[in-house]
Each structure stands twice: as structure tokens, then as C-alpha cells.
């Protein structure tokens, strides 16, 4: 039976890997997710046949409660709220790993080999930090607490000390596994560490944090796998750990920041930055939707640059209608997606897909950046920092070095924005004052609706 179980686990692990591979193309992605689901299902079924299981009461209760909550959350969540949803699911994964590890300790007792006690400590530490950190990330993204960084003097030092304490206590536990007190204190320290390590991170940096927590939840599962000597946990945990690290890295690169800077830099304070183009405040020319409609009507190619402001205003659907209208007039329309558009990796693509924008109209930054110079109109909606030319030129700007969309190279730049207020990084944008820029002040949804109306009138 043990052999059969392990063979099924091996099949599960293969399904997970193949499923992730199929996620590499939008054509096969759904099939891939289904395969992964199947892998999970067979792993669960074969585990239920385990002869160590004597009582199914708690199992059935747990499965029903968990499935109901999970299904309800998955069905009802708004696509704009996807980052906090993923954060929350991550947190539960981390919590589950920590709970399993501790339960195993309670069950087996203090007599355990060195490798088990070491991975037990790591599983608890990572699992609890993932859980609490995810809850904080959720609260920040959901607006339950301020998105601005919360800092106090000596914060980094305090976090370092906490981690050190946890590791030293871990050492004590490994030396004396019969004493559960060490483990309980480690859990307490991890609870605090999960909070203090995430509160200093600003709302705009949350994509990085979510990716990192994703990676942690995988590592926690892998560590629990070591505790249980269960290879499917180890493989799956490693896959997820790797995935989270890759996404973290991509997000950091897209913001031109190091991971250390994101985690400890506390960027996004109200008085941060502001050095940019403050030379002599040139006048901004304000245009109406009618002016913009005339320019758009005579354009041959348009690139739309959506930012998170678009999603906040719920303007995706009317934007799609707008794009269709232009295409009916024979205008070439494409969307340029910056890697950090939205609140998590790939978020903007999902938001546009929800509005029925076909995915072959969505272009990554590297695919489309050279095309801006041959484009008549670049229409920017709810984006700011990712199009700020200061990132290229101004060495003293906090944005300097961040890869941006070459919106300024288009013949005409249209920017729909509520006001002149700077973006998350707190930096002014010289593009607003460029003579070829048409500023359209207003709510994204209302403005695009007006554009649609005006274009129809022409």
C-alpha cells in the first residue's frame, strides 16, 4: 500500500509539473490547471485510503468547511481584488503547513532525528510568518489598514533580532526536542515577525510582497514534506518556491529596485521624492473629449496604456467598447502592458480579459516599446510612474533606471487623469507639460465614455 501511495504521489507531482508547463500558453493554460487539479485530487484520494487514518469525522468536517469557504471566495471575488485574495489563500497555505508540522510533533512526541527537528522549526517559522504576513498584506490591499509604510525607529534592527531569536531558539529545540516551550516561543516570535516585516512595505510594492509570500508558502510546504518524509510535498513546495522567487525577481526588475530595497526601503511615504521636473512649472494645456476625439479619428494607430487607475474607475469595459469603435474605423489598436501595471504580476491582463479584450491585443513592454515612435496616439489611462521619462534622464529621481513605456515617442500623447497629482513614487511627470501631450482631466470611466460619444458624433 505504501508503494502504491508513493507511486500515486509521483503521478501527482508529474501532473503538477506538466500543469505548470501548460500554463505557459493561453491556449493550453486551462487544461494545465485542470491537470494540476486532477493531480491534487488523486493525491487526496490515495491519502484517504491510508491505513493510519482511523477516524474520518474531522477530515470530512474540515473538507466541507474548507471547500465551502474556498469556493465561495473564489466565486465572488472581484478581479480587482485578486491580489488580496491570492495573499489570503497563500496565508492559509502557510498556516496549514505550520499546523501540520506542529500536529506531527504533538503526535510523534519529542523523539525525533536531527533532520526532522530542523525542518520542523523551519516549517513553523516560515509557515507562521507567511500566514501573518499575508494577513497584513490582505489588510493593506483591502484598505482595512493604511497602505502607506508603517515604520518605527530601529525597525530593521528589531526584525533582525527577532529572526535571530527564532533561529537561536530553533537551535535549542533541535538540541532538546522534548521541550515544546521552545517551539511555542518560536511561533510567538514568528507571529510578531510576520507583522513587523510587512507593515513597512508600501502599497505600491505589494506585488513583490505577494510574490515573495507565494514563494514562502511553497517553502513551508516543502519543509513540512521533510518533517513527514513526504516527497510530493517536497516537490510541490519546491515548484511553488521557485515560481514565487521568479515572479519576485521580475517585479523587482520592473521597478528597478533590489529586493532588499523593497523590503526595507519603506518607499511611498507622502513626502518621498518630488525632486523631478520642478524647474519652472510650465502651464498644462487642458483639452476636452471633443478635441481628443478629432485627433483619434484621424489617427491610424493607437496604443492604449492602461494603469491601475483604470481598474479603480472600473473603466475596462467602456475602454473595450472604445477600442472596438476605433477598430471599426480601421485604426490599429493595441494595448501596452507594463510589468507592474496593476497590483500583482499580470494583474492588468486579467482585468482586461475580464472586459473581453482578446489577449492577442495585449503586448508586453519589450514587444511594443519600439513601436511607439511609429504610433499616432498613445492613450494613457490611470498610469503615471511607468511612463515618466524622468526614469530615463534624471539621475536624482527615485524612478531613475526603471524601465518605462516609451509613450513620449508617440506623435501625440493623451493622458486621462484625475489631477496633476504625482504617482505612487511621489515624482512629478514632465510629460504632462510636453506640448504634444493632451491632458484630459476627469474620471477614467466618464472620460472614456465621453470619448466614445464624441467619436460616434464625428
Amino acid at each position: 500500500m505504501v508503494t502504491i501511495t508513493n507511486i500515486v504521489y509521483l503521478i501527482s507531482a508529474s501532473f503538477f509539473i506538466l500543469g505548470l508547463k501548460w500554463l505557459g500558453s493561453p491556449k493550453t493554460a486551462r487544461k494545465g490547471n485542470f491537470l494540476s487539479m486532477l493531480g491534487m485530487l488523486i493525491a487526496i484520494v490515495v491519502t484517504l485510503l491510508d491505513k493510519n487514518i482511523l477516524d474520518f469525522t474531522y477530515i470530512i468536517a474540515g473538507l466541507i468547511i474548507g471547500a465551502a469557504i474556498g469556493a465561495y471566495a473564489a466565486k465572488t471575488v472581484e478581479m480587482t481584488a485578486m491580489p488580496q485574495m491570492v495573499a489570503l489563500f497563500n496565508g492559509f497555505g502557510g498556516a496549514a503547513s505550520a499546523l501540520v508540522a506542529y500536529s506531527e510533533y504533538v503526535r510523534v512526541g519529542g523523539h525525533m532525528p536531527l533532520d526532522v527537528s530542523i525542518t520542523l522549526v523551519l516549517s513553523l517559522l516560515i509557515g507562521v510568518v507567511t500566514f501573518v504576513g499575508s494577513l497584513v498584506a490582505y489588510a493593506k490591499l483591502q484598505g482595512l489598514m493604511t497602505g502607506a509604510p508603517i515604520t518605527f525607529p530601529g525597525q530593521k534592527f528589531a526584525n533582525g533580532i527577532l529572526l535571530l531569536i527564532a533561529l537561536v531558539l530553533g537551535g535549542f529545540f533541535v538540541a532538546e526536542p522534548a521541550v515544546p516551550t521552545f517551539l511555542l516561543v518560536i511561533i510567538g516570535v514568528a507571529l510578531v515577525l510576520g507583522i513587523t516585516s510587512v507593515i513597512p512595505i508600501g502599497g505600491a510594492d505589494m506585488p513583490v510582497v505577494i510574490s515573495l509570500l507565494n514563494s514562502y508558502s511553497g517553502l513551508a510546504a516543502a519543509m513540512t514534506g521533510f518533517v513527514l518524509s513526504n516527497n510530493v510535498l517536497i516537490i510541490s513546495g519546491a515548484l511553488v518556491g521557485a515560481s514565487g522567487i521568479i515572479l519576485t525577481n521580475i517585479m523587482c526588475k520592473a521597478m528597478n529596485r533590489s529586493l532588499a530595497n523593497v523590503l526595507f526601503g519603506a518607499v511611498g511615504t507622502a513626502d518621498g521624492g518630488g525632486t523631478g521636473a520642478k524647474k519652472d512649472k510650465a502651464e498644462v494645456t487642458q483639452y476636452t473629449a471633443e478635441d481628443a476625439a478629432v485627433v483619434l479619428d484621424s489617427a491610424r494607430s493607437v496604443i492604449i496604456v492602461p494603469g491601475y487607475g483604470l481598474a479603480v474607475a472600473q473603466a475596462q469595459h467602456v475602454l473595450h467598447e472604445f477600442a472596438e469603435l476605433l477598430m471599426q474605423k480601421g485604426i490599429k489598436v493595441r494595448y501596452a502592458i507594463h510589468p507592474v501595471a496593476g497590483r500583482m504580476p499580470g494583474h492588468m491582463n486579467v482585468l482586461l480579459a475580464e472586459a473581453n479584450v482578446p489577449y492577442d491585443m495585449l503586448y508586453e513592454m519589450d514587444q511594443i516599446n519600439d513601436d511607439f515612435q511609429n504610433t499616432d496616439v498613445a492613450l494613457v489611462i490611470g498610469a503615471n510612474d511607468v511612463i515618466n521619462p524622468a526614469a530615463r534622464t534624471q539621475k536624482d529621481s527615485p524612478l531613475y533606471g526603471m524601465p518605462i513605456l516609451n509613450v513620449d515617442q508617440a506623435r501625440t500623447v493623451m493622458i486621462i487623469k484625475r489631477s496633476l497629482s504625482p504617482g505612487f513614487a511621489g515624482v512629478d511627470n514632465e510629460l504632462f507639460y510636453d506640448p504634444k501631450t493632451m491632458m484630459l482631466f476627469g474620471d477614467a470611466k466618464e472620460m472614456v465614455t465621453e470619448l466614445v460619444k464624441e467619436i460616434k458624433n464625428i
Partner: protein, 98 residues
């Protein structure tokens, strides 16, 4: 000590496989990738099932129950929301009319 070494081999090799497979996923699909891989990390549910059902230690079983609940939320929620998102990714209009 033999067992832990084999597990360590598996762990390291799986990380390499993960890097290879996941670097090929385009940014277009990064959100579904994240929620989908998130669901995979819910594999810890197999450990949770054993904790909740095996042995006679009440504390271990209650911890197991909590683990089953949290892991199931992670698995069911993760896969369902991923499917919901992937369903929305359509190539052109002909596919949109369903």
C-alpha cells in the same frame, strides 16, 4: 540520514525543474500562474488529512482539523479562481461568443 539526503536531492532538483518550467510562462499569465501555483502549495493537505484522522491524541487531531480547513480553502479556492480567470482569456471575437 540516507533518507534525508534523497529528499534533499529531490528538493533541489525540483527547484531547478520549477525554474525551467516557470520562466517560460509569459507575463500575460502571471496572475493565474500565481494563484494556480498557490493552489499547488495546498498539497500540504495530504499531511493535514493524516494529522486529522490518525492517532488518538486530541490536540494533534484538532490541529489537524484546522490544517485540513485552511489547506482545503487554499486548494479549492486557488484552483477555482484560477479556472475562473483562465476562462476569460480569449483570443478573438469568435471565441467570445459562446
Amino acid at each position: 540520514m540516507e533518507g534525508i539526503l534523497v529528499s534533499l536531492y529531490i528538493f533541489v532538483l525540483a527547484i531547478f525543474v520549477g525554474f525551467e518550467v516557470i520562466t517560460k510562462v509569459p507575463p500575460l499569465l502571471h496572475t493565474p500562474l500565481m494563484s494556480g501555483s498557490n493552489a499547488i502549495s495546498g498539497i500540504t493537505i495530504v499531511g493535514a488529512l493524516i494529522s486529522a484522522g490518525a492517532g488518538h491524541n486530541q490536540l494533534a487531531k484538532i490541529l489537524g482539523l484546522l490544517a485540513v480547513i485552511t489547506a482545503t480553502i487554499n486548494v479549492v479556492g486557488g484552483y477555482m479562481v484560477t479556472d475562473r480567470m483562465l476562462e476569460m482569456f480569449k483570443k478573438d471575437k469568435s471565441e467570445q461568443k459562446r
